[in-house]
C-alpha cells in the first residue's frame, strides 16, 4: 500500500515527511539490490550443483576458456547447466512481470498469465502440434511446438482484448472472460488427450508440466530481449500504474488514459507470457505469487513494485530449478511441479504475515 505524502501543512512536518519518503525509497532500492544478490547466489548454486561432481575450478575454466576442458565438461557447462540456470531466472522474471502488470491493470489479485488463459491456450497450441502434428508449414521441427504454443497464446490474448474492447467490459468481466478461456482451452486439450496415442499423450503431459530442459541459447536470447523491452515499457508506465492503484477515477483525474493503458498493457504482457510458456511449457503460480510478494515487500509504488515482481519471480524460479534437480539426484522433475511447492513458503512468510499485520 502507498503511504500518502502530505504536500501541504506545516513546514517541519513537510520536511520530516519528505525525509521519511526519501529514506523509504532508499530502503526499497536497497531491498531490490538485496534480492538481486540473492538471485546471483541462487544462480551460482544452481550452476555449481549437478549430478556430476565437477570442481569449481573446472567450471570456471569451462566458462572462461571452453576450448581447454574435456568435451564432456564443455557440454555439461554450456549445454546443460548454464542454459537451465539462466532459463529459470528469465522465465521467472518474465512471468513475474506479466503477473504484476496484469494484477494492476485489471485491479484483481487473482490475475496472472495462468488465470487469464494464456497458459491454457499455449498448451492447446502445443497439443495440436504434439498430438495431431498440426503446425505452420515451413517451420523447422524443433520450433513447431513453441511456435504453435505462442500463436495460440497470442490469439487467446487477442480474443480477450477484442472482447474487452468490443463490449467495453469492466475489469471483473475481463478476468471472468479469461477464466472462461482457461476452461475452453482445457476442454480442448482434454479432447485432444482423448484421441492421442499413448506416446503423444505422454509427450503432452510432460510438456504441460513445464520443463527447463527445453532451454537453448536461441530461446534464451529471444526471452532476454523480450524481457528487456517489456521491463523498459513497463517502467515508462510505472507512474500511471501507481496512479491506477489509487482508483480509476483518481488516475483519470491525473490525466491517465486508463482505457488505453489497460488494453495496451494487457496485450503487451500477454505476448510476453505467451513467449515464456511457449518455450518452457505451463508454469503456473509464479505469475500469480510474485506480485503479491513484491507488493508486500515494496508497496504499491510501481517504480519498485514492477522490478520487484521481476526479481521475486526470478528468485523463486531459480530456487525451483535447484529443487527440481536436487530432489532426486540425476533425475529431472518437471519444474512446473516444483514451483508451487517452492513458492508456498515465500507466500506464507511474506504475504500472509503482511496481510495479518494490515488487518
Amino acid at each position: 500500500m502507498t503511504r500518502p505524502v502530505p504536500f501541504e501543512g506545516l513546514d517541519p512536518v513537510h520536511a520530516d515527511a519528505s525525509r521519511r519518503y526519501r529514506r523509504l525509497n532508499a530502503l526499497r532500492a536497497l531491498g531490490l539490490l538485496g534480492i538481486v544478490a540473492l538471485i546471483v547466489i541462487a544462480m551460482a548454486m544452481d550452476f555449481t550443483h549437478g549430478p556430476s561432481p565437477l570442481a569449481l575450478g573446472d567450471l570456471w575454466r569451462a566458462l572462461v576458456s571452453p576450448g581447454k576442458v574435456s568435451p564432456e565438461v564443455g557440454v555439461i557447462v554450456w549445454q546443460v547447466r548454464l542454459p537451465y540456470a539462466l532459463m529459470a531466472v528469465l522465465v521467472g522474471a518474465c512471468l513475474g512481470l506479466a503477473g504484476g502488470e496484469m494484477q494492476t491493470i485489471l485491479n484483481n489479485p487473482l490475475a496472472s498469465p495462468y488465470t487469464l488463459g494464456v497458459s491454457a491456450a499455449a498448451a492447446f497450441g502445443a497439443a495440436l502440434a504434439i498430438v495431431l502434428d498440426m503446425h505452420i508449414p515451413g517451420v523447422p521441427v524443433s520450433w513447431q511446438v513453441p511456435i504453435n504454443a505462442f500463436a495460440f497464446a497470442l490469439a487467446s490474448a487477442l480474443i480477450l482484448d477484442g472482447v474487452a474492447r468490443w463490449r467495453a467490459l469492466p475489469t471483473a468481466g475481463v478476468v471472468l472472460m479469461g477464466i472462461a478461456l482457461v476452461f475452453v482451452f482445457h476442454a480442448l486439450v482434454s479432447l485432444l488427450q482423448f484421441v492421442a496415442t499413448e506416446d503423444a499423450l505422454q509427450g503432452l503431459v510432460f510438456w504441460t508440466l513445464g520443463s527447463l530442459v527445453r532451454a537453448d541459447w536461441t530461446k534464451l536470447a529471444v526471452l532476454a530481449i523480450a524481457l528487456l523491452f517489456g521491463l523498459i515499457l513497463a517502467l515508462r508506465q510505472s507512474w500511471a500504474m501507481t496512479a491506477l492503484r489509487l482508483g480509476e477515477d483518481r488516475a483519470a483525474s491525473f490525466g491517465v488514459d486508463v482505457k488505453r493503458l489497460r488494453l495496451g498493457t494487457l496485450l503487451r504482457v500477454s505476448a510476453l507470457s505467451a513467449l515464456t510458456v511457449s518455450f518452457v511449457g505451463t508454469i503456473g503460480f509464479i505469475g500469480l505469487i510474485s506480485p503479491h510478494i513484491a507488493r508486500a515487500l515494496f508497496g504499491e509504488d510501481h517504480r519498485f513494485y514492477l522490478p520487484g515482481c521481476v526479481m521475486v519471480g526470478a528468485l523463486v524460479m531459480s530456487l525451483a530449478s535447484i529443487a527440481s534437480k536436487g530432489i532426486l539426484p540425476g533425475v529431472i522433475i518437471p519444474v512446473g511441479i516444483v514451483t508451487a511447492l517452492v513458492g508456498i513458503p515465500f507466500f506464507l512468510v511474506i504475504v500472509v504475515r503482511a496481510s495479518g499485520r494490515m488487518s
Binding site: P51, P71, G74, V80, V141, S142, V195, E198, G203, D216
Partner: protein, 381 residues
C-alpha cells in the same frame, strides 16, 4: 397405494437389471471349465469352449498369433485400436496376409479412456484377454465388472510390467484360456531354451565386466533427451542380458527423465535408442516391420546429432544401437534380450544370434513372413 408403490419399485428393479438379464440371455451358456489365477491375481473359471475372443490391447495379437497357427485372427471379434495406431507396420503386414483384419471392430482407440463398454459388450465374446496396465481396459475398468456380471471370463496377462517373470506364465495362461496348450508349451520350450543360453553366457562373465547401459525410450520423439526406463519393463531385459542399466537406481518409477548431465557423468558404455513408427518429419528411430535397414540406420544417426549427445561416452565411442520399442510389450522379448547380449559382449558369444532366433520364431510360430528391421547398429565413428 402401497401395492402400486411396490409394483413400481419392482418394475424399476427389473428395468435396472434389464441389461444384465439381456446379456445373460444373449451370451452363450458358459460351461465351467478349469479355474486359474491370472496375472492380476484374480481367480478365473475358464470356459470350455471359446469361439469369440476380445483383446483389451490390439498388441496382444503378438502373443495370440503365437498360439493360433495359420489363422491368427479368426477368433478375434474385437480389440483395442493400439496396434493400428502404435505399430502400423505390423498392422499392415497382417493386413496383407489377412485382409479381414479391417473388419474386426475396435472397442476404443489407443488409451484406456477411449474404451467403449457398450461396444465391447455388444461383441458378445466368450472370453476377454486384457493387459495388466497399458493401453486398454485395466483391472479397475468398469468393463471388467460388466463382463463378470454377464458371465464372460476376463483373463489378465502381462508382457509389460515384469516381462522377465510374467511372459511365460502369461503365455501358459493364454494357452489354457484359448485351448492351445500344446502351442503354448512349444513356445515356452523355445523361449526357455534361448533364455537358458543367455543366462549361461551372462553367468560366465564376472559382474565387474557387465557394461553400463543407457536406454533412451522413443528417442527424439518428445524433444530433449534422456527419457528412460528404470526398474521393470525394458530395464529387466537389459539386466537379463548382463547389462547394468544406469537409470535403475536413479528413477523412482518405471519411466522418467534423466538429467543429460547425469547420463554424461554415468559414462554408459552402450547406448540404445528405442523407436517405432515414422511420424511426419519428426526426429525418431524408424524401425519395426517393413522398415529397410538403411532407413533405420539413417534415422539412428540423425538422432545422435541432437545437442550434447556426443558427450555421452557410448555415443562418442560408437557403441550405438537401435531397438524396436514394442519389445517392451511383447512375448518376442527374448529376441531383444539376445540383441542386447550381442551388443553388450560383441563377438564373445557367437552362438547366440538374435537374427536366427527371430527367423526361427517366425517360421515355427507365426503366420506372417518376417521382414523389416527390429534392431540396428549405428555407424562406427
Amino acid at each position: 397405494m402401497i401395492p402400486s408403490l411396490s409394483l413400481r419399485s419392482t418394475l424399476r428393479r427389473l428395468l435396472c437389471a434389464m441389461p444384465f438379464l439381456l446379456l445373460a440371455l444373449v451370451s452363450p451358456l458358459a460351461h465351467a471349465g478349469e479355474t486359474v489365477t491370472d496375472m492380476a491375481g484374480r481367480r478365473v473359471t475358464l470356459p470350455d469352449h471359446v469361439d469369440r475372443v476380445l483383446l483389451g490391447e490390439g498388441r496382444l495379437l503378438y502373443a495370440m498369433a503365437l498360439l493360433e497357427g495359420k489363422d491368427p485372427l479368426h477368433r478375434i471379434v474385437g480389440w483395442q485400436g493400439d496396434l493400428q495406431a502404435l505399430d502400423p507396420q505390423t498392422w499392415a503386414t497382417y493386413q496383407k496376409a489377412f485382409p479381414g483384419i479391417d473388419r474386426i471392430p475396435l472397442i476404443g482407440k489407443s488409451s484406456e479412456a477411449t474404451v467403449s463398454v457398450e461396444k465391447a459388450l455388444s461383441l458378445k465374446p466368450d472370453l476377454a484377454i486384457f493387459s495388466v496396465g497399458g493401453h486398454g481396459p485395466s483391472r479397475h475398468n468398469a468393463l471388467v465388472q460388466r463382463f463378470e456380471a454377464a458371465g464372460v471370463p476376463v483373463v489378465f496377462v502381462d508382457f509389460r510390467q515384469s516381462p522377465l517373470k510374467d511372459t511365460l506364465p502369461s503365455i501358459e495362461l493364454m494357452g489354457k484360456a484359448l485351448q492351445r496348450q500344446a502351442q503354448a508349451q512349444a513356445y515356452i520350450d523355445f523361449y526357455r531354451q534361448h533364455m537358458a543360453r543367455v543366462q549361461a553366457a551372462v553367468a560366465s562373465v564376472p559382474a565387474s565386466e557387465h557394461p553400463r547401459v543407457f536406454v533412451e525410450l522413443l528417442a527424439g520423439v518428445w524433444g530433449g533427451c534422456c527419457h528412460t526406463v528404470g526398474k521393470g519393463n525394458l530395464g529387466e531385459l537389459v539386466q537379463a542380458a548382463g547389462g547394468v542399466n544406469i537409470a535403475a537406481d536413479l528413477l523412482p518409477g518405471v519411466i522418467g527423465d534423466l538429467n543429460l548431465e547425469q547420463v554424461i557423468a554415468s559414462a554408459p558404455e552402450v547406448y540404445v535408442a528405442t523407436g517405432s513408427r515414422r511420424e511426419g518429419d519428426r526426429p525418431a528411430l524408424h524401425i519395426g516391420a517393413q522398415t529397410p535397414i538403411e532407413e533405420s540406420r539413417r534415422s539412428l544417426d540423425a538422432l545422435l546429432t541432437r545437442p550434447g549427445l556426443t558427450a555421452i561416452k557410448a555415443i562418442r565411442e560408437g557403441h550405438v544401437h537401435g531397438l524396436w520399442h514394442n519389445y517392451y510389450d511383447s512375448p518376442y522379448n527374448i529376441v531383444a534380450v539376445e540383441a542386447f547380449l550381442s551388443w553388450f559382449y560383441p563377438g564373445r558369444f557367437p552362438d547366440i544370434d538374435p537374427a536366427a532366433t527371430q527367423a526361427e520364431l517366425y517360421k515355427r510360430f507365426l503366420a506372417v513372413p518376417p521382414g523389416g528391421t527390429y534392431w540396428v547398429d549405428g555407424d562406427k565413428p
